[in-house]
Amino acid sequence: MAEMTSTRNTGQLVGRTIVYGLLVLVCFYYLMPLFVMVTTSLKSLDEIRAGNLLSLPQDPNLDAWGKAWSSACTGVQCEGLAGFFWNSVSFVVPAVLMSTLIGAVNGYVLTMWRFRGSDLLFGLLMIGCFIPFQVVLLPMARTLGAMGIANSTTGLVFVHVVYGLAFTTLFFRNYYVTIPDELVKAAKIDGAGFWLIFRRIILPLSAPIIVVSIIWQFTQVWNDFLFGVVFSSGDRQPITVALNNLVNTSTGVKEYNVDMAAAIIAALPTLFVYVVAGKYFVRGLTAGAVKG
């Protein structure tokens, strides 16, 4: 009997080792570019020019970080990324929240309150999201101009919400199809209406998918360059435009260390969101809800 215990335990141990081994191995693949970026950002330009891109910095220093944050040129002013940070935050937060919320409600309607043609509608929305964004630039510019919100934060938020909706709706719909109908039925009997059911029954079960949706939207909107550059006004440009300006020079000198530092700085809020939101990947939300 002791044997049996130990065979299971060793078997388990081997299994666990393999699992952890694999997970860590894959981590290397994911971390490799980050490694390159971080080491590069800590090197001096001369060391980079020497060409040892994968080697550790010989004399690590944070100069590039400082420059990226506060003195790199992103246009005629050379004040680094700092100022653009808040520009981004100011439209990313509302855009993400709105598109997630609307997506959740849409998903809720499309699964729990289906009506004739609702699936068709969903299908149309899905196909529509394959429209290349480059195509919408000009007509959208004209539409926003006509609406009087061209080159304003409102306009930018609007654009991001509109083109984010298809996917947030998709996420929520496909998550909600696995929630038993009975819960909604029970709530209807309890007298709850449309919104109440959503708020009290459905939302509390949505934690993982809200996380997914926020991760997606936040990443998309935060990292978006095209809409940001086209639909923001000159002095309210998002951080990606600044990053692009800093990095993407065609005939100027390339400062790789600053570029890398800037890229990492620009990604910090997104990383922060991942870490914070990740906690809500909770297990077994509907456990024990229904029998059968």
Partner: protein
């Protein structure tokens, strides 16, 4: 005007008709029991009454309103789902008080009601748990609690006690009965428990394959089943159906029964002469197990009491009674005898048939003859 009336209600899923024209009508304060074999459409009917499924055709009224198009929340009903459907993210307390909260019952009042319900259902110690931390029976009681916390004009119960032990079930039955008497609410109740059906219901509707077979008081259903199906379905163990030839006997008629080497003709006293047309033909003679018992001398004498000595093929003790199976006309007939009087298989036993409630069916149409 009834409290609930269901008129020619039909329901189809993808072309197959699940409910084939249901007609039922009950008065305010009545307690309707729905019974029927598994899959006959009871839950579907309930969910249409609740407004959770659309009616394919027909009309449902609650009080004097046609509610076909009324949303569930406006029908003023409470329901226990067969599948419980507890809110997984809420505690037991929140599950129970949710409906109250929505109906804007004050906090203190809610608290009181939850306490009362929890006590009734003996789940007071579970109030702060999530459904996933409960046993099956506890979940079922929470589902029940969610319904009875409210004070609707119509209760719908779908097998609300099926996962409870006998003792608790008796207690709950009593509670439901008292609830019904106290509040006078109309109730529709699905159950598979014969005793629940007989003791709780004012009316019983026996369904089969989407149709109502018989609708009446428990006693009517039990004593005067409309057809073979109802007779066989109600009562446990089930009624014995013995194919038997009708023979003239005395002034009336009797049925011939053969068991082992013996042959008897039992008078069809309960038939009131309706067997005349069937003379010489075969009918189905129905008699319940409890009407075939061990011989009790004091009961003998009446014409409707007949005795016979029959060989036992099987015995089955159930505690309070022992079921004895004897062959009659090629069928195994179940008799319910006192354990002390039961003989062993292979032996013969003197049995007493009480024919006062025997029934007769047309073997072809399965309808009741007498």
């Amino acid at each position: 005007m009834g409290a609930l009336s269901i008129r020619d209600v039909r329901k189809s899923y993808q072309g197959t008709e699940i409910l084939k024209g249901i007609n039922l009508e009950i008065e305010k304060g009545e307690f309707l029991i729905l019974v029927g074999p598994s899959g006959c459409g009871k839950s579907t009917l309930l969910s249409m009454i609740a407004g959770l499924d659309t009616v394919s055709s027909g009309e449902i009224r609650i009080g004097d309103r046609v509610v076909n198009n009324l949303s569930p929340k406006d029908r003023d009903i409470a329901m226990v789902f067969q599948s419980y459907a507890l809110y997984p993210s809420m505690t037991v307390r929140e599950n129970i008080s949710f409906g109250l909260e929505i109906r804007k019952v004050g906090k203190a009042e809610q608290q009181k009601i939850v306490e009362r319900v929890a006590q009734t259902l003996q789940i007071g110690h579970l109030l702060d748990r999530k459904p996933s931390q409960l046993s099956g029976g506890q979940r079922q009681r929470v589902a029940m609690g969610r319904a009875i916390a409210r004070d609707p004009s119509l209760f719908l119960f779908d097998e609300p006690l099926s996962n409870l032990d006998a003792k608790l079930r008796v207690e709950m039955r009593v509670e439901i009965k008292q609830l019904h008497q106290r509040m006078g609410t109309t109730i529709v109740y699905v159950t598979h428990d014969q005793i629940e059906a007989m003791t709780l219901g004012d009316k019983i509707a026996v369904m089969k394959a989407g149709e109502v077979q018989q609708f009446g008081t428990p006693q009517q259903i039990y004593d005067n089943p409309a057809n073979l199906f109802v007779a066989g379905f109600m009562g446990s163990p089930s009624m014995n159906f013995i194919p038997a030839r009708v023979e003239p006997m005395g002034g009336g008629h009797g049925v011939r029964l053969e068991s082992g080497a013996n042959s008897y003709v039992f008078p069809a006293v309960s038939a009131n002469g309706k067997l005349k047309a069937w003379e010489g033909k075969e009918v189905v003679f129905g008699i319940r197990p409890e009407q075939i018992t061990h011989k009790v001398e004091s009961s003998l004498g009446a014409e409707y009491i007949q005795t016979a000595s029959m060989p036992i093929s099987l015995t089955e003790p159930t505690g309070p009674d022992t079921l004895v199976l004897v062959p009659v006309n090629g069928r195994e007939v179940t008799c319910r005898v006192h354990p002390a009087h039961a003989r062993a298989p292979g032996e013969k036993m003197d049995l007493m048939f009480d024919l006062s409630k025997a029934v007769f069916f047309d073997p072809a149409s399965e309808l009741r003859i007498a």
